[in-house]
């Protein structure tokens, strides 16, 4: 594995995303700037300027035409990927913690932070995929999370459900058309925040990461916990790899949060687990601070991580990664 270091941000990375083809990586940071990079060589393609606060979240539509960003300046902004032009800005009463496009790119979901006088809400805008079109000011859906604030959310397959993760460790399922509450599961330890939610390629299942040091693989339809990955550090992010049946977990205790002096400071490694057997397979070191986000190349050829240290590290998988198989997997393949 030859990692490429993307140095361009001046502060902690908060989210990194590949586009659908996997040739571009978008990154957002507390430094207010959105960056686009070529994933194969780490060359910076461009930056998107306009935000006036820390950025928490980024997503790109399936055709790599539109980019959405949100952050502490209480705005969601929509950009044209190719030109860097800002197409739209929606303003809110509080910070934006998450944005995500629907699988077809025609809807955009956002989550607002809870603050005095403002409840955490999940809302949806209908998106016109044409960059020259006027975008709507009207929200097509509003879900108020009055029990526990939402921290992460996304659209299921066919945008049938919205699945959300919350600060109290619960995961909820909503009807994505009506906003009706359908189901809730205490997936993680009570009052341990769900820090990430990423989908399997077909969105029939997803993975959640939590401060409770575990990641869970859950089914979209009935929120069944299919798998549990147990680590020794609070997790900020978890991703599912296509092609190989692995998951990648990222996290780490910030130095200021390490209370016992004997504890090994840091543990700033990306951890690979076997998705089905739930066993740890390996770790990748490199960051000097917690990993705030891990993203997998959509074709499963590599991954990247955004760190509290201000760097994005891009890894391309080698042949041994693809060759690695458990004996029972070989058996299975031989029987096909």
């Amino acid at each position: 594995m030859r990692p490429i270091l993307l140095s361009g941000h001046e502060r902690a990375l908060t989210q990194v995303k590949y586009n659908a083809d996997g040739d571009i990586i978008f990154s957002v940071s507390k430094d207010h700037v959105v960056c686009a990079w070529f994933s194969h060589n780490g060359e910076r393609l461009g930056t998107y300027h306009g935000h006036v606060g820390a950025l928490w979240t980024v997503d790109v539509d399936p055709t790599s035409t539109l980019l959405a960003t949100g952050g502490a300046d209480n705005t969601i902004r929509l950009w044209e990927v190719r030109t860097g032009k800002q197409l739209k800005s929606w303003e809110f009463g509080t910070a934006i913690k998450r944005v995500e496009f629907s699988p077809d790119g025609r809807q955009l979901l956002g989550i607002t932070e809870k603050r005095q006088g403002h409840l955490s809400t999940i809302f949806v805008y209908e998106i016109n995929p044409d960059p020259s079109a006027e975008q709507t000011d009207e929200q097509s859906l509003r879900i108020v999370c009055d029990e526990a604030k939402a921290t992460v959310a996304g659209f299921s397959y066919g945008a049938k459900y919205i699945i959300s993760g919350h600060e109290d460790g619960t995961v909820c399922q909503w009807d994505a058309k009506s906003g009706e509450f359908l189901d809730s599961v205490q997936a993680h330890e009570a009052d341990m925040q769900v820090t990430d939610l990423q989908w399997a390629p077909d969105r029939t299942y997803f993975i959640t990461a939590s401060k409770d040091k575990t990641a869970k693989l859950m089914s979209t339809n009935d929120l069944e916990i299919l798998k549990t990955y147990t680590t020794d550090t609070p997790l900020n992010s978890a991703a599912i790899t296509p092609v190989k049946d692995f998951v990648i977990l990222g996290g780490g205790q910030a130095a200021m949060d390490v209370t016992t002096t004997s504890a090994r400071q840091g543990k700033f490694e990306a951890r690979f687990y076997h998705k089905i057997f739930m066993e740890e397979i390996g770790r990748v070191r490199g960051h000097f601070g917690p990993l705030n986000y891990v993203a997998v190349h959509p074709k499963g050829t590599g991954y990247c991580s955004g760190g509290e240290d201000g760097y994005v590290r891009v890894h391309h998988f080698d042949k041994p990664y693809f060759d690695f198989m458990y004996e029972v997997e070989r058996e299975q393949q031989a029987n096909l």
Binding site: P62, P103, D104, Y157, G158, K160, A200, P201, D202, R203, T204, Y205, S219, N221, L226, P242, V243, I276, F277, M278, P298, K299, G300, Y326, E327, V328, E329, E331, Q332
Partner: protein
């Protein structure tokens, strides 16, 4: 005798993994059928990638 014990333990681990793999594969089959029967158009990865889990 130690060797025999070790072999038994190994066999159990392998049996366990085999079970997990079969469970997973049957769940995948079930869920793909279910989603298909709901008539959803799944926007997943493109089909040319291969090797992964794509619902056709």
């Amino acid at each position: 005798q130690d060797l025999a014990k070790k072999n038994t333990a190994n066999r159990q681990v392998v049996e366990h993994r085999r079970r997990l793999l079969q469970e997973w594969l049957s769940w995948r089959e079930y869920i793909v059928q279910l989603v298909k029967s709901e008539g959803w158009d799944i926007e997943g990865r493109k089909e040319d990638v291969g090797g992964g889990e794509v619902i056709e």
